[in-house]
C-alpha cells in the first residue's frame, strides 16, 4: 500500500474516482504476497502491482468496471498453461484479488 500512496494523493486532489485491488490470498508460487496493492483511476492510470506483470492488464479492466458499477468483487487468476494468450500466472500459482472502489 505504501508505494501507491503518493499517486492516490495526486488522483484524489484531481477528484478522480479510484478502484483498489489487493492480493488477499495466494496458492502455490506467486511473486507478490497478500497485501500487495494496485490502484486504477477512472482514466485508466495505474499505480502499484499485484503480480510480476502477468495479470495487471486484466486487473485494469476489472478495476474500471468496479469504478463504473461500484460493485466490489473477488477476482482469481490461475495458471494458464495450454492457453498461451489467456490471462494467468506463468509461475504456476493462483492469486485471489479483492477489488473495491476507494470511497471509504
Amino acid at each position: 500500500m505504501r508505494e501507491i500512496l503518493n499517486d492516490l494523493d495526486r488522483w484524489q486532489k484531481k477528484g478522480k474516482r479510484i478502484a483498489i485491488a489487493r492480493v488477499v490470498d495466494l496458492e502455490g508460487s506467486g511473486p507478490r504476497l497478500p497485501g500487495a496493492a494496485m490502484a486504477v483511476n477512472e482514466d485508466g492510470e495505474v499505480a502499484g502491482s499485484v503480480s510480476g506483470g502477468c495479470v495487471e492488464g486484466a486487473v485494469v479492466a476489472e478495476a474500471l468496471d468496479v469504478i463504473a458499477t461500484g460493485t466490489r468483487r473477488i477476482v482469481t487468476f490461475g495458471y494458464s498453461d495450454d492457453e498461451a494468450f489467456a490471462v494467468g500466472l506463468t509461475c504456476g500459482g493462483t492469486i485471489h484479488l479483492f477489488l473495491e472502489p476507494l470511497d471509504w
Binding site: 505504501r2 488477499v24 466490489r72 473477488i74 509461475c91
Partner: protein
Amino acid sequence: MGEIFTHVRDAIRSQQPAALATVIEGHGVGAHLFVRPDTEPIGTLGNADLDRVVTRDALGEIEAGRAGVRHYGANGEANETSVSVFIESYAPPPQMLIFGAVDFTAALSRVAKVLGYRVTVCDARPVFATKARFPMADEVLVDWPNRLLDKVGATLGMRDVICVLTHDAKFDVPAVVSALATNVGYIGVMGSRRTHDDRTKRLRDAGVDAAGLARLQSPIGLDIGARTPEETAISICAEIIGLRTGRAARQLRETDGPIH
C-alpha cells in the same frame, strides 16, 4: 476517499503499527475496520461481536507483521465461515543498525534503503559519524554501539539486523556482546579471516559462548567475490535475505523447485 482510508494512509506514512480489516465475502462485503494497538477501532464490520473478535485477531497480525484472510460466523464465531475478512497489517519498516562509519557503511546504507530498512549509523568518533557522509541514513549517531544498544536493544526484533563494520576490536567486542543480548534476526560482523580469528578469541575472553559465536555471521556476507563497498553491500544484503528465507545462496539454475 473517506475517513478510514485517511487513517490507513496516515498510519503507514507515520510508521505507526496498524491493521485494516475488510469483509471480502459474505454479509457486509466492503465493510472496513481500522485497528491500532491501545486505541478504539474505527469503523465497523456490521456486528459488534464480529468487530471485537476481528480486532483481537488484527492486533495479532500486527504483532506478526502478516496479512491474510480469516473466516468467521456473522457474530464472530470462530468455527464458522459465513464471513471472510482480509486483515492486512502495516508494521513499521525493519531496522538496520550499522556500527562503524566507514566507506562500506555508505554503500550498505544505500542498498539497505532499497530493501526498505530504516537505517541507523552509529560510531563513537564524531569526525566520521556525520550526516554529511551518510545522507541516505535515517539517523547518524555519535555514540558507542553498546551504549546505543543498552537504550534501544529491547525494541529490536527478528526482522531487524545489526551489521558491525568497525573491524576495530576496541569497538567490535562490546558491540557484538551487546548485539547478542538482543533478539535481532541477523548479526553480521566484518573483517578479514585474520581479523575474524583474532576477534573470535577476544569474544571468547569476553565471555561469549559457542552458541553466541555461532549466531554471528562473521566474516559478514556471501562468497561472491565482492571487492568494492557497493559489491560488499550487495553480498551482505543477499546474505540477510538468504538467511531469513532459509535458503543456501546458490544460483537458481543449479536448483529446482519453486522460486518464491
